[in-house]
Symmetry: C2
Amino acid sequence: MTATPSPPPATVPAPGSADDWLRLDQQVCFTLNAASRAFNGVYRVILKDLGLTYPQYLVMLVLWEHGTLPVKKLGEHLRLDSGTLSPLLKRLETAGLVRRERSARDERSVEVRPTEEGTALRRQALEVPLRIAAATGFEVEEIRELSAVLQRLTTALDAAAAAAEGTAEGA
Amino acid sequence: MTATPSPPPATVPAPGSADDWLRLDQQVCFTLNAASRAFNGVYRVILKDLGLTYPQYLVMLVLWEHGTLPVKKLGEHLRLDSGTLSPLLKRLETAGLVRRERSARDERSVEVRPTEEGTALRRQALEVPLRIAAATGFEVEEIRELSAVLQRLTTALDAAAAAAEGTAEGA
DNA sequence: CGCAATTTAATTGCGCGCAACCAAATGGCT
DNA sequence: AGCCATTTGGTTGCGCGCAATTAAATTGCG
C-alpha cells in the first residue's frame, strides 16, 4: 500500500457513475475508430491489386458514378477539402487514372476527369464490394441498418460540432 | 445532350446488380469512415481545452484506467504499434503529461507513467464523455448496441485481413 | 559460456485529414 | 471602369496510421 503512486481501482465502476461514462465513451468512439481502421486494413489488402489506396478508391467510385466533376463537388460527395484532395488527385493523375484541367468557363475550377485507364479500372473494381462484404460476414440487411445508424450519427455529430464552433466564435 | 463523353447512367441500379453492390459497399465503408471523422471533429473541439488530440486522449484513458504500462501493452489496448505511439508519447512527455522510463528488469521495455499533471487532467476529462454523448443525440442503450455491432465487425474484418495475408504470404 | 532466435522500441517513409493561409478568378456594386 | 466580398484550389504544417527496417536486450539451447 506504499509504493503505488496513483493506480486507479481495477474494479468495474458503478453503472451511472462518471467512471462508467468514461468507460462507455471509450467504447463508442474507440470501437468506431477501430472498425474504421480495420476496414481500411481489409481495403488495403484488396485494393493493392488495383494500385489504389482506400481514399483514392472512394474518389474513383464517385467519378465512376458521376463522371467528370470539379474538385469542389468531389469534396462535397466525400466530405473532404482541397487540402486532402489536391495531393491525392495529383497522385491519381501521376498514376494515369484521372486528368485535371481548368474549366474554360470558370478558371478557378478544376475539372477532374477519369482517363480511359481510369474508366477501365472500374471493371476490376466491381468485385471489390463482394469481397469486402464477405470479409464483414454481415448480412445485407444488417449492413444497411448499420449504415443508416452511422449516417444519423454523422449528421448529429456534424451539427453538434457546428453548434460548438458557433458558440465558441462570435459567429 | 451531345457533349457528355462518358457519363454513367444516373438512374438507380437494379437491386442485386453489381452496380447496386458497389453503391451499397460505398455506403458501409464510407459511412463508417465519415462517422469516425465526424467523431474526431467533435473531439477536436472538446479536447482543445485539455490540450489533447483524440488519439492522445485515448492513451490517457488507458493510463488512467490501468496506471503505468509498457508501450507494448498500451498498443495492445489501443490497437496501435510503436510507429504511431512513439512520437505520440514523446509529445505527451513534452506536454508534461507522461514520463517514459526504461524498465529496470527488462531494458527493452519502456514504461509509460502518467505524471502528477497527467493524473490531474483526469478530473477535467470526466465531463468529456457527457458532452460527447450529448453531441451524438443517441440513447445510452443505442450507443451500447452500436458499440457491440462495431466490435463484432472489427473482429470479423481483422480475421479476414489476417486470412488474406496468410494466403498471400507463405505463412 | 557462446550463439541464434525472439522480443521490444525506435526510426524512416509515405499517404491521409484538417486547419490556416495564400493566390487567382468571378460577380456584384457603385 | 474601379473596388470589394466571395468562390475555388493550392500550399504548408502538423499529427496520426501503418509498413519496413534497424538496434538493443533477452531468452533458449548446445
